[in-house]
Amino acid sequence: MRESAGGAALKTSPGGAAGKARPGFKVAALIIGSLAVTALSPFFGLSVISPADIMLPDHPDAEVFWRLRAPRAAAAFLAGAGLSLSGMVFQAFFRNPLATPFTLGVSSGASFGASLYFYLGGTFLIRLGGVGPLFASLMGAGFSMFLVWSITRVKGGFSTVIMLLAGVVINFFFSSLVLFVQYLSDSHDSLRIMHWLMGSLAGLETARLADLAFVILAGSVIFRLMAAEIDLLTAGEEIAASRGVRVGLTKIKLFVTASVMVGSVVSLAGPIGFVGLMVPHACRLTLGWAHRLLIPAVFFTGGCFLVLCDLASRLILAPAEIPIGIVTSMLGGPFFLWTLFRSQKTGDLF
């Protein structure tokens, strides 16, 4: 970059980040690549579908393509985008890369809500129809977020250690509640809960896709509109407030939006772990922390990443299918450790 005594801001492109290429191009390349991979993914699976066949009416491959694979790819994309973006927001919020829907206990809270609904849904008075699991997950996610929030606040500020500990405790607490519900259920419900807990896109109902799309897209737009506020929160709460951000209100908005996104994904696909850790971190390594650019990058990369994981989950043991949560966790565990060791070496967590 040009170096002169003055004019640094006027001369260079806005939002200059790490790297030599203009970050705008990088984001555009990421978006195009992600969309291309996502669009191609439904052609692959147990059998490879020829592009020529998908437009033929009544062709069995066209049926598989449009009825099964395309909605599933869309769901995987939305789920990946939602989990990644909410992870990104939690990380900016707590200024800690280990803050994710999983480590904060949101995922397990949502899981508890949903499994409770599976258990009570058929027998109880609550009959919410298709949106039942969504609603129950959201309640669970909100409740666990509230608990973590209150614990960290009572213990003084948002200290990283307290927050992570609170998350771990809440996580265990809700996981044991889920096991309890599972224990109470009959074998059919129990199996259903177990499958769902591993995180899977297999039993996806197409009708629920629209709900998911609405929540994820609306949440992403909200985040994008708040990019400057998120940047400032990353810089520190005192700096944010002195620059005109209503810190309390902004935090609540971000918290609620992120929790709703996680809850909606969990209600459909189960608690898919580590996506919210890996994707934002990888994107930050190349793009830096300017959320104006980071948000679109994380959205598309996260979507594409989960689409690929879903493809892998269908291919690894084909024709059997392993739950996608297992794939992401197998990648995420080592990644988590790598982040930890790298942070020890560089002295800070980013």
Binding site: M1, E3, S4, A5, G6, G7, A8, A9, L10, T12, P14, G15, G16, A17, A18, R95, L225, M226, A227, A228, E229, D231, L232, T234, A235, G236, E237, E238, I239, A241, S242, R243, G244, V245, R246, V247, G248, G288, W289, A290, R292, D348, F350
Partner: protein, 314 residues
């Protein structure tokens, strides 16, 4: 009222909260040293009134208290600063200095403030956060969390109160950022991440970011802590020139007793949440003011080269 600032035109108005005479000049600090020993709290005049005599008050705090639960952190603090004034807030550790600064920014999440705080003639509570940001900027204490941004990115974020919800900066915004980098002579390291800077450079970057905000008042929370002597004196000179040349009203929490002596203006000493002294900086020398506040002995010398007073903690 005859004791305040010799050499200054007498203003007939005794109500000093906001008199009509408005020479919004920053030379108040230059005039102040003449009034050695005068206008201290001892002469019966109210120093809070005397502080803004003849010019509009930028910040007025009256009988301000702040408590968290039943723990009282600030108790009946009062002071005022005129436009272009320089206020140094001193006091032992834990006296409530940083809390006072945070209250001026409405940064307290919990706790209950009581009393009157006015900024530019309006109650603090009547401002939106963005309106307040256009009036008051803030330089945080160095150390702790380092934002993962470059010098330039941090400075650009300061334009938030002027930008719309979508973060697009106008040419005026960018010009303000450039000017801030120029004043702090950070232009050549605009693209360096804050993390790679030395403590002194980073503190200047925070200062540049606050300057880019373009607000007439600047609050500083121990800006020189953690700095080596060279950077401390560089930063001190920069702050004084911001006050004299740019006309900024400065409010600085500091532990460096000699910085107020150089900057002039007014000093507020807090002790256990109460005002221990409020008056002109000259009043710090002798008279037991510092001894009372810090429970410690001080020696007052004269600088052999320029004749300025030097305060030495025993």
């Amino acid at each position: 009222m005859s004791d305040a600032q010799p050499g200054r035109a007498e203003t007939p108005a005794e109500n000093a909260a906001a008199p009509a005479v408005t020479p919004a000049a920053p030379e108040m600090t230059a005039a102040a040293p003449a009034g050695k020993g005068a206008a201290s709290a001892g002469n019966g005049a109210d120093p809070v009134v005397a502080a803004t005599r003849g010019r509009p008050a930028m910040i007025t705090v009256k009988d301000f208290s702040f408590s968290i639960g039943d723990k009282v952190i600030l108790d009946g603090v009062g002071f005022s600063i005129p436009e272009g004034g320089y206020l140094s807030i001193l006091g032992p550790n834990g006296a409530g200095k940083s809390t006072l600064l945070k209250c001026l920014l409405r940064l307290h999440e919990k706790g209950t403030p009581r009393g009157l705080v006015e900024v530019a003639g309006r109650p603090l509570g009547s401002y939106t956060q963005k309106e307040l940001a256009k009036l008051v900027s803030y330089v945080p204490q160095a150390g702790g969390w380092i934002p993962p941004f470059s010098v330039l990115e941090l400075a650009k974020l300061s334009r938030f109160p002027y930008a719309t919800s979508v973060s697009t900066l106008s040419r005026a915004d960018l010009a303000a950022v450039d000017r801030a980098l120029e004043i702090t002579s950070l232009g050549h390291m605009a693209h360096r991440p804050l993390k790679t800077l030395s403590g002194g450079e980073r503190q200047k970057a925070y200062l540049a970011a606050a300057l880019a905000q373009g607000s007439p008042v600047m609050l500083l929370d121990e800006p020189a802590s953690f700095l080596d002597p060279r950077h401390t004196s560089e930063l001190g000179r920069l702050l004084i020139s911001l006050n004299r040349d740019e006309g900024l009203t400065m409010v600085a929490v500091t532990h460096d007793l000699n910085h107020p002596v150089r900057s002039g203006g007014w000093a507020l000493i807090l002790k256990e949440g109460r005002t221990s002294y409020f008056g002109p900086v000259e009043g710090l020398m002798g008279g037991g003011v510092l001894e009372k506040a810090f429970n410690h002995e001080f020696t007052y010398l004269t600088h052999p080269a320029d004749g300025r007073p030097v305060i030495l903690a025993e």
